[in-house]
Amino acid sequence: MSKSNFTRRGVIKTGAVAGAGLAVPQYLRADGHAGFTNAPGDSEVVLGFNVPQSGPYADEGADELRAYELAVEHLNGGGDGGMLQTFSSKALDGTGILGREVKYVTGDTQTKSDAARASARSMIEKDGAIMITGGSSSGVAVAVQALCQEAGIMFMAGLTHSNDTTGKDRKANGFRHFFNSYMTGAALAPVLAAQYGTDRKAYHLTADYNWGYTTEEAIRASTEAMGWETVNSVKTPLTQTDFSSYIAPVLNSGADVLVLNHYGGNMINSLTNAVQFGLRDAQANGKNFEIVVPLYSELMARGAGANIAGILGSQNWDWKIENQLGAKYAGTNAFVQSFGTKYGFPPSQAAHTTYVQTLLYADAVQRAGSFAPCAVVEALEGFEFDGMGNGPTLYRADDHQCFKDVLVVRGKENPENEFDLVEIVEVTPVDQVTYAPDHPQMGGADASLGECNNGA
């Protein structure tokens, strides 16, 4: 007769302890010996691409994903190498990152902060992603960046333009290559003054979320500084599709410029409505009525069709820039060649920034000789590089924001094809879009990166 040592109380105790252990998120226990969360094994490393695959920015998300896949291909030695050929740092050699093959997992942010955090958490906890990248909405980027900071994971922001991402909500583990609302205002205002004069009255329609607020603030500050008056500003819901109720009162408001602080589907619809209501052909205060779209994208321009013609805005990058403005913007043609050959059309600026961010992360790990987030942060802070399509660029240590030239563009009147919808009006030098790290629009003196977090 055997005698069991198990007792009911013992089983319950053991079960409770084991259950509690299993309930601890993986990133708090995995590879604790390595000193940081999700330390990769010897053969492969997993990156997490968190982009909107549904929702109003889904087309941007799809292009981001294409660029991420291309970047992984190039990091692993596939294809023609793309910008690895032109990148000023030569640390990457096409053998993955620190000798490990690069794998990736994807998540759908749905352009919603909650969904984005859930998918990022899943990639960190279940898939062991060492770095999360993505965006296409500043609300999403800010939320995921905060999550990555807590988890001790690097966040390389994709398409996020709000000041807050590297302003009041900046985090030590987060880095942004894309430009921001302040830079748009600083680059666009002088061109607006030159094209439309300094005696103008502006009416703002603003998407009712994080990015809309900071963009309106930046454009108002820049245009008012040069003499424009802001007649009114109206918040519009992100889910709005018919903007006629918002557009109709504009003509009688005393304004002679309409600023559409909208992006993606919002911008396509609001611009279409504005054109339908005759604003582009109207006269007000004895001047031609003008429409301005602060943040442009080729995908939006394609969606807006002929309505975009003649309308000014700003961009982070354009696939034609090296051909038009020369070798200063080297890397552009190499990327366009790789992307165009693989997918059959030129890349958008969303694709460009995500591709560059992936390479910058990989390069920083390679130079640091470690995947530990704090080592990567140190490698990226103050990093100056070139050959990535934007000219000489600095990753500023104070706020983890990239500083580079900004493009002012205009919708082409007679595009030759569906990819050639915008023309570059001016390139604003980096000096004119640089600001102090404690600038009031960036959270002021209270804004802080905090401490970098290695996680487990």
């Binding site: 549904s54 929702g55 109003p56 889904a58 087309d59 799809a62 009114n232 109206v234 918040k235 819901p237 889910t239 599709t241 018919d242 006629s244 109720s245 918002y246 109709a248 009162p249 003509l251 009688n252 408001s253 993606g264 589907g265 396509i268 619809n269 279409t272 339908q276 209501f277 005759g278 052909d281 109207a282 006269q283 007000a284 995908l299 969606g303 807006a304 069709g305 002929a306 309505n307 696939w319 034609k320 366009v336 060649q337 165009g340 050959t341 030129p346 094809n417 990819f419 050639d420």
Partner: protein, 343 residues
């Protein structure tokens, strides 16, 4: 005053869309007793009929132009449109520009067939199930249709412009003695309003003045008795489902130039249209139309900057507030019939 007129005009086109969708919903509910949450998807499919027609009419083949290069430096492949090959440059261009009105001819039979397929293939199996089951299955169907459209056409809105003859705006204020450019109203929205009025009148005339319509109305009042008279009322009701789908479809076709079609536009309209049906009175066709215009205009007023400044966010909830108010004072809605949805 000019701002009030502007918002009334704005409300008319939005109200027209609500009225047309709500009309179809009410027809389906009144005849088949089905709460069809896929009706917004039918509106969206109509809008995509316009997109598809536009794509078909602008189908092209590529001709290599050795003298020019594409973005990769390869010889440029120039798009050449078949309609221009067949009908000449000018006529071909006109055909492509009139894609939206032409789409109506294509949309009506397609949407009737879609309606028949939906009713015979799925919804008939849920006639004797609770309304909650009907809502679940039709809402699920709406999501599936939306995802198919997204997979096929992408997530971003697709511009489907009105014919050039209807682009631009009418200076409405001049007719009322205001200064030029005080009240501008896009021509196409005016077209949409009149088009909706014609469709609504045609549906009412069909139900009121034809024998078929008379039988359908009798069936709506007392299905069992009509059946006992030897009339196959089910077949007529199936046709009415197809008719309701066609009404939603043409409403979507004509709405495409107003708001660029996207996969989600059906859901955008669906919930509001249900509120319209409830406010108008379940089963009441005139109620659905009246409530559609009423709520469309109210929504426009609530979006006026002067009102939003005082009550931020009121434009998002005004329809629901009014719905609550009306249902508290008139539980059957504006023109609801006794006994409908009361068992």
């Amino acid at each position: 005053m000019d701002q009030i007129i502007v918002q009334v005009l704005n409300g008319l086109d939005k109200g027209s869309a609500y009225a047309l969708i709500a009309l179809g919903l009410t027809i389906i509910f009144g005849t088949l007793g089905v709460v069809n949450f896929a009706h917004g998807a039918l509106f969206m499919m109509g809008a995509f009929c316009a997109v598809i027609t536009s794509k078909i009419l602008s189908a092209s083949h590529r001709v290599v132009d050795e003298t020019r290069t594409d973005f990769l430096g390869n010889p440029l492949e120039v798009e050449t449109f078949y309609v221009q090959d067949w009908f000449g440059m000018a006529a071909g261009q006109t055909i492509m520009e009139w894609a939206v009105p032409i789409a109506i001819i294509f949309a009506i039979p397609v949407m009737i067939l879609v309606g028949f397929a939906m009713e015979r293939g799925l919804i008939k199996h849920f006639y004797h199930r609770p309304h909650a089951d009907q809502i679940l299955v039709t809402f699920g169907l709406a999501l599936v249709i939306g995802e198919i459209i997204k997979y096929t056409f992408g997530a971003n809105p697709i511009q489907t412009p009105a014919p050039p003859a209807f682009t631009g705006s009418l200076d409405f204020g001049v007719f009322l003695g205001y200064e030029a450019q005080t009240i501008m109203y896009p021509y196409w929205r005016l077209v949409y309003f009149f088009f909706s009025a014609i469709i609504i009148a045609a549906v009412f005339a069909f139900l009121q003045f034809t024998t078929f319509g008379m039988v359908v109305r009798a069936g709506m009042a007392d299905r069992e008795t009509v059946g006992l008279l030897g009339i196959n009322i089910d077949k007529r009701f199936t046709f009415m489902f197809g008719l309701a789908a066609a009404v939603a479809g043409v409403a979507g076709v004509m709405y495409a130039p107003i708001v660029a079609p996207n996969y989600n536009m059906g859901l955008d309209f669906l919930v509001l249209s249900f509120v319209v049906v409830v406010v108008g009175g379940m089963g009441s066709l005139p109620g659905a139309v009246a409530a559609g215009f009423l709520l469309g205009i109210l929504e426009s007023f609530a979006s006026m900057p002067a009102i939003v400044d005082i009550l931020p966010g009121i434009n998002q909830i005004i329809i629901y507030l009014v719905a609550i108010l009306i249902l508290l004072t008139r539980p059957r809605g504006l023109m609801g019939r006794k006994g409908v949805m009361e068992e």
